[in-house]
Symmetry: C2
Subunit: 491 residues, 2 copies
């Protein structure tokens, strides 16, 4: 905690990297492109998992677990999916190491232990799961099949960033099968709503719900829905996707069912996922130059109590703090008393600020005698003296206020950084000044999108679901445009 963070305004990227490390969220592993999720970071991820898992179960999904490895012949079966992921696959080719005859004490791959068929470490599990569904689905009575999996996946990325883009990451992937296209589409949209609700209610992160353009669609999907959020540097971040797979995987893996009427049809599929990338979004959306700002609903520690005392007084003070601590716990508030006798209060304050604990109580003997507590909120840095008598009630209310305030702040930021333009000059100027989302008329072709991307590094984040069709003129080609698209530079 000795030196301060780089400032967002000076080097946003460096600020992010340093913050993730110094708040104890994650660090780079000894393995290229992989990360170690540290206990404090993992505690936040666990809260995300528990919340999402409950939401999945309430919408009728069950968890299961499918293998890490995908035999190459299965991986190939859905061609577009295979093509989309082939370039970033870790491949297992051998199943044994042996002592290296030329380097005593060292190991090498055993040349006699080559697999007959290579195994792909799953970059996503459609192939392995749909090859299984073939045996699980025979009749309309087996539908809908609503399964989710919590797992690790590997995509061999060349340029990695903690949480945002790592070779291995943790995620959940839902894979469902339905009797009709309508049901599958309804499921796709339902899960998008679940993700949006989670982002907004729990992460305090406003999101735009939309549908991807063809260029940005999931490989093997007919339609990809997404939620897009804005970070404090004006870049967009895709926070979750929900795919309508049509009958692509059902056909690739021959998954058919007998209808009520006795005919045989291919089932309709969806898949949807969010990952530890959400951790990156959480950090980047809310935090400041002093450290993390966590929404109370996802904070592993919601309240930290720092005792202020003279040498020798600590035990007595801790004793007097206990009822308050107990009261908070009984209200369901997670509270930590920082009783370390080796560090000074100023050090502790800075550390808990770095870790984004929403509320800090500084408590000394004199305060207790006077019946007050010094309360500091992390989001606004306000300090106030509140009566000890109803401190539990006050803190509870404060936590709710903080949750709302963080959301509102992020929403204001997004509103201020969403600009409608009609000309390409304006488009480029906004990207380089205000940044954020730029709503612009688009002629609907992949070629135009590609050209804009090459020239400006901005991509279409989505066609927002709440955006009405609107006749216009494509800012680049002058061709007719039926919709305004959300463009942005993105993570």
């Amino acid at each position: 905690m000795s030196k301060s963070l780089p400032k967002r305004s000076e080097d946003y990227s460096l600020w992010y990297n340093e913050l993730v490390k110094r708040a104890g969220l994650a660090e780079n592993a000894a393995v290229r492109g992989c990360m170690v999720i540290k206990p404090y970071g993992y505690a936040i991820w666990e809260k995300m998992q528990q919340t999402l898992d409950g939401m999945f179960k309430r919408t009728g999904h069950q968890n299961a677990y499918f293998p890490l490895f995908v035999p190459k012949s299965l991986f190939e079966a859905e061609e577009k999916n295979a093509e989309g992921f082939a370039k970033e696959c870790a491949v297992v080719t051998h199943y044994r190491l042996q002592t290296d005859p030329e380097r005593p004490g060292k190991l090498r791959v055993d040349p006699n232990a080559k697999l007959e068929e290579e195994l792909v470490v799953r970059p996503t599990s459609e192939a392995i799961i749909w090859s299984t569904y073939k045996n699980w689905i025979q009749s309309y009575r087996d539908l809908p099949l609503l399964i989710n999996q919590w797992a690790n996946v590997v995509r061999w990325e060349m340029r990695t960033r903690l949480f945002l883009r790592t070779a291995e990451f943790l995620w959940q992937e839902g894979h469902t099968a339905h009797a009709t296209a309508e049901e599958a589409l309804a499921e796709t949209r339902q899960m998008l709503d679940v993700y949006a609700e989670f982002a907004e209610e729990w992460m305090a992160l406003p999101v735009v719900k939309g549908v991807k353009s063809e260029n940005e669609r999931f490989a093997g999907a007919l339609e990809t829905y997404c939620i897009e959020a804005l970070m404090q540097d004006g870049k967009a971040l895709q926070a979750g996707t929900s795919h309508f797979l049509g009958q692509n995987f059902a056909k690739a893996f021959d998954v058919q069912f007998q209808t009520k009427e006795g005919t045989l049809e291919h089932v309709w599929g969806t898949s949807w996922g969010v990952s530890t990338r959400l951790m990156g979004a959480l950090v980047m959306a809310h935090s400041d130059d002093e450290g993390l700002i966590l929404p109370p609903k996802l904070a592993p520690i919601q309240v930290v109590i720092v005792p202020i005392y003279k040498t020798g007084q600590l035990d007595e003070l801790l004793e007097r703090i206990r009822p308050m601590q107990q009261g908070l716990l009984e209200r369901g508030i997670s509270v930590k008393v920082d009783d370390r006798d080796t560090e000074r209060p100023g050090f502790k304050f800075a550390e808990w600020e770095m870790k984004g604990v929403p509320v800090r109580l500084a408590v000394g003997m004199r305060d207790l005698d006077a019946g007050t507590v010094e309360v500091a909120r992390r989001d606004t840095k306000e300090k106030m003296n509140l009566p000890l008598a109803d401190i539990v009630q006050s803190v509870d209310q404060l936590l709710q206020d903080i949750q709302t305030n963080i959301y509102n702040k992020a929403m204001r930021y997004r509103e201020q950084h969403t600009t409608r333009v009609t000309t390409y000059e304006e488009f480029k100027r906004v990207l380089d000044t205000t940044a954020g989302f730029v709503l612009a008329p688009w002629d609907g072709t992949p070629e135009t999108e590609e050209r804009i991307k090459e020239e400006t590094k901005a991509t279409i984040r989505c066609l927002a679901l709440n955006e009405p069709d609107e006749d216009g003129v494509d800012m680049l080609t002058g061709k007719p445009s039926a919709r305004y698209a959300y463009f942005a530079r993105a993570y």
Copy 2:
């Protein structure tokens, strides 16, 4: 559910395989040696996870996540560990696939995407974790470091069985670092106690706590503690292990700390784990020829209500069942009403028996009018008519009785299948008749143990912690023996 299970007495192994599949717990995956854990099986595993996770947290551990891949140079660092796992490692050698020029539409490994250093898919995580701990530990203030991870691991097994031995499995692995050997040993034993408590209290599975002989020790440990359980075919199953690593990994990865006195010392380590293997133990210890028998504390569905009705009466009956259903839920009992109108009661009874639901209520209009409910317990197959008025209380009590009864039954079985012998003839005779644990004097040498294993397929499961030293004569060599060891044939 159409045909019955193979009988345990006729083919125990086939009975197990069929039961695991037909109860909906797991099945073989399209990938050699891997399994798919199906929703019902995964629901039991989730209950195990939640319970264990709570126990780990209450004993001061935090969760974190470390990479799936171990670079070969790290994997090699602790020589014994590397040697022990080298023969069963899946190895990633390439990071990209490409279109196969000779087979259109097919993929092949891109020969230009060979990794400079091969990556081992973790068979266990000591190497990757201790290479990280080097940066986390500087001072005595950083100790103890108490970390757990829930993860998948891969050990390339040639002969696999669902849950018991699969190439990929799910587990938790605790990895802790301490200032002294005493503290590390205390941690090792504490976690063994946690495992034993979980096995006995939750799985209703009596276990022998002990320490492994040198031959069976974890590669890289100074001492391996274990819990050993007995299955219904008289074979033993290792249900969990807790390793005292000494300073082996600290030295291999140079993890030193500054003591309070200012000297520099290597830290002391432990690691401990249980896996989805516990699912196999749960199935094999309690179930019968009709299907699973689940201990109520781990049953995803504790009570199933089967409505008995005439055509057209179902809705009315379900309405009348609702208060009972609600009452059970409010008592914290997980209850399912099997309201399928497509299946007959007999079919439903058989299905829920196969799935091991502890208590079944069969409820018809006439029962409700008479104020009674037909209650069947899965473990003893007893049926009784109980008053509707206090059915919630009765069922709650019954669930507790079942939990106890299953444990007691397993304990009686173990007692009847634990035999003390003094001669090798007796030893071999018992193995081939009663089977189970055979307590026999052992001279303490790996050579004798190895010979016994070759001649009888029995191994030393452990030297039990509660077994006093006792002078004797090794049954095989005639050399002095200081201890009776627990021998058994094992999974």
